[in-house]
């Protein structure tokens, strides 16, 4: 297995594993923040048990002096708090990688390709610090000294983190850090991993995908959030519950997801920008009200942080399995916009875009994220809201109010939306088929066709935005084309770089709006391609299936369905396999044979 780092660049993957609830996550977070403050680019990845306490948890931190696109393929440093963590992860260690393990918990047999450091973490914490809970800080002391990360960087963070708990707690933690560093000083360093003080002084934020989206929602002008707790979306609600009141907004925790979307539609109808976030089970419950938003033409942003389904599935694991539901969920001819988040940085700007599209076209926008993106943290440049100017809904002019038609047919299919308490003339927003005024028209057959065309007319206009927002990596017209969507962007981009370096003709296209699809961009990209790979973290290839409706191409699916994201190497392997077929046959590749 390859090293992440090269002679020119620092690029290390740390993985911390142990029992859930024992500080694995906080150790990972402290390492993340310290390295981020030191100026490294960070890309974390978490898996954790569905149980509150117990079960195996791990936290992975990739740190580099250049832009990171994925969590990485191999592990450079494994910190194992127990034997289970060691057994589970030692196989992912690169050749010559490092294991730091708690020798109070187990004894690791010598390993032919790993460098082992045995440290009695629990007894150092108990005997030298007097607090067993500090064993994860002892481990950080070991990491700091061994890999030459300035101890003071960790110490500063510990002071910030524990100040509110009192000086005693701060001192115990600082002591634990020193105990770890002092202990490892006695051992000879046998590895070559060295980070140093860090490369960069420019200011960056450390955000999770969920946090980044929530910040973007604030920037977009969202002031009402309604939601029901559900993993892995809850932290959007908790974040906004804290922040929205500071800017005059509020979070309503509703009795279920149906009520959540009901509050959102009521609030939006009354003139406030509103959103909800959920995961698969809650999203399933929302489908009826999404249809209401479509036909009553009410702006709304609905986030689905996807987890493994169906039903309760694997609540803490990642999947891209809700695309069909997002595009087609609900009855009737029911156009809505589906936007997929591609990275932590993108989540901020896409949040503003989601609200903009909802407002401009007066329709629901579904935002697909997933556990992998929602819960991982990354360093991002301080977001600049001015990059995506905010758009607000069209309201009636005094002239239009004289003979007000809420659902008037216009050239843009967008009609003026009056706001209660603001505009003099009211109307009834309704899920019943209605005429231009909003009056029930449940038996007017031709009116239904005209209204359906109006709603799809708005939808089809978004295709132009979808084309604009599509990004491409690698060769513009490659032999081997890759189409991705959502959180796989970074991994695919890194795989494309690796494959290009290895001499393959490869390129990737990544739409942000997946419904409607950016057909013009897709058409241009597919021209001349000898093989097209569509990697998705689901079983059936949902995006590939949607694209087959539009393109007569024998798409090669690459599906991963184990609740974990792709690694770049998995994509590279597929590129190599497909390339062998392309080269040997000199004609189009048959997906069924791959």
């Amino acid at each position: 297995m390859a090293k992440n780092s090269t002679s020119k660049h620092v690029d290390y993957v740390f993985r911390i594993g142990g029992e859930g609830g024992e500080g694995v996550i906080s150790t990972g977070e402290l390492l993340t923040l310290t390295l981020a403050r030191a100026g490294y680019e960070i890309y974390t990845f978490r898996t954790y048990p569905a149980e509150i306490k117990g079960g195996h948890a791990n936290y992975q931190v990739r740190a580099s002096d250049r832009l990171l696109l994925s969590q990485g393929t191999n592990v450079d440093v494994l910190v194992a708090f127990n034997e289970e963590a060691y057994q589970k992860h030692v196989g992912d260690l690169r050749k010559g990688g490092v294991v730091i393990y708690d020798s109070d918990s187990f004894t690791a047999a010598s390993h032919d390709s790993a460098i082992l450091y045995s440290v009695p973490l629990a007894s150092l914490a108990t005997e030298k610090v007097g607090v067993k809970l500090t064993k994860n800080i002892v481990a950080l002391g070991v990491v700091a000294h061994l890999f030459e990360i300035p101890l003071e960087a960790f110490a500063d963070l510990l002071r910030d983190r524990f100040r509110h708990k009192g000086e005693m707690v701060v001192q115990k933690n600082l002591q634990a850090l020193q105990v770890g560093a002092d202990y490892i000083k006695q051992q000879t360093k046998r590895d070559a991993i060295r980070l140093g003080p860090g490369p960069r002084q420019t200011k960056e934020l450390v955000l999770s995908g969920n946090e980044s989206f929530a910040l973007g929602a604030i920037a977009a002008g969202c002031r009402i959030y309604a939601g029901y707790p559900i993993t892995p979306a809850t932290d959007i609600m908790e974040f906004l519950a804290k922040e929205l009141p500071k800017i005059g907004g509020y979070v309503v925790q509703t009795e279920d997801e149906i009520a959540a979307v009901g509050v959102v539609l009521g609030a939006s109808y009354a003139g406030k920008k509103a959103m909800t976030a959920t995961s698969g089970p809650g999203f399933s419950l929302m489908t009826e009200m999404i249809g209401l938003a479509v036909t009553a033409e009410i702006p709304a942003v609905i986030v689905d942080v996807q987890r493994v389904g169906p039903s309760t599935g694997m609540p803490t694991k990642t999947e891209q399995g809700d695309l069909y539901l997002a595009c087609y969920g609900g009855h009737g001819n029911c156009p809505r916009i589906v936007l997929a988040l591609s990275s932590v940085e993108d989540a901020f700007y896409s949040a503003i875009r989601a609200f903009n599209i909802a407002e401009q076209f007066q329709m629901p926008v579904i935002v697909l994220s997933d556990q992998y993106l929602g819960h991982r943290k990354a360093t991002v440049p301080v977001p600049d809201p001015s990059k995506v100017p905010v758009i607000n809904r069209r309201t009636p002019t005094p002239e239009e109010l004289k003979q007000y038609k809420r659902y008037s047919f216009t050239s843009t299919h967008i009609s003026p939306m009056a706001i209660p308490g603001v505009h003099e003339v009211g109307y009834v927003a309704t899920g019943l088929e209605h005429d231009e005024i909003g009056y029930p028209a449940a038996s007017n057959h031709l009116n239904h066709l005209a209204m359906t065309r109006k709603r799809y007319g708005k939808f089809h206009q978004v295709e132009a935005i979808a084309n604009e927002l599509t990004r491409q990596y690698g060769e513009e017209h490659p032999e081997i084309a890759i189409i991705g969507w959502g959180s796989t962007e970074g991994v695919i981009r890194e795989a494309v770089q690796l494959a290009l370096e290895a001499g393959y003709s490869v390129g990737a296209l990544h739409p942000k709006i997946v419904y409607p699809q950016p057909l013009a961009r897709l058409r241009a990209f597919l021209e001349g391609a000898k093989a097209v790979i569509i990697p998705e973290v689901n079983f059936t290839g949902q995006f590939a299936t949607l694209l087959r409706k539009r393109f007569a191409v024998d798409f090669i699916q690459l599906n991963k369905c184990i609740g974990l994201p792709f690694t770049p190497q998995e994509i590279v392997d597929k590129i190599e396999e497909v390339a062998r077929h392309v080269n040997s046959r000199r004609r189009e590749v048959h997906a069924a044979k791959l």
């Binding site: 604030i218 922040e243 009141p245 009901g262 109808y269 009354a270 009826e288 309704t430």
Partner: protein, 285 residues
Amino acid sequence: MSTAVDAKYTPQSYKTDEHPIWCPGCGDFGVLASLYNSLAGLKIDPKNLVVVSGIGCSGRTPGFVKSFGFHAVHGRVLPVALGVKVANPELTVIGAGGDGDGFAIGGGHIAHAARRNPDLTYLIMDNSTYGLTKGQYSPTSPVGYKAGSTPYGNIERPLNPLAMLIAYGATFIAQGYSGKPKELTDLITRSIRHKGFAFVNIISPCITFYNTYKVIPPRLAEVPRDHDTSSRPKAFELALQDDHITLGVFYEARLPTFEEGVADVIRHAQAAGPSRLEQIFAEFS
């Protein structure tokens, strides 16, 4: 700004061009007339009024009131009404529903509306049947009720809307009858004036599928003059007796509303002045 604000508030001025689709003789006509009277009496500006409904015969109510309206999906009156109220606490928000919409498909929302206590009015037009789908039994139909889905008679006991709302902690609970328009107007007026979640169960017979016009009047009684409307136990006692259908206000209390709570939270969060996005960014470095 416009003449609408200065228009004379008469019951007629709240009527729309849409003619109600209800069957001639439907109790809902009486409810609508009382609602017009209340709105006129309270001089509510249509610009600041939102009538929210679900599905069923009652669901068409917003179309018949000159104001803003939201005809939502089945059972979701209260979440939508809450959203409207949270977005703009200055609005007068009235929810209109039936016994199926409110107590069956939407029954899960009532408890939470009651305990949150948003300042909105919830009028239930209770006809003890599903009129729009031709008479199936509803949560308030009596045992033995025979219709399409209960050809051998209903075996489920009906729920008691008033006792339920008292248990949930609603802050205004009343019952009216569509055939007593003057009294009903008074109840609706009091429910709109009430600060907090006001619930009025209105017996509103379905002339087509469950005609109770003959059986209800003899059973009607008034809330006793000496009834203590500030006592939940007394309200329960009144709600649980089943000799009569009691009309009037069962319970009334002034408790903090949801919007007042929201305003308090915002005031507290902004104690050091309102925040800006850049300040929030600083928490993440």
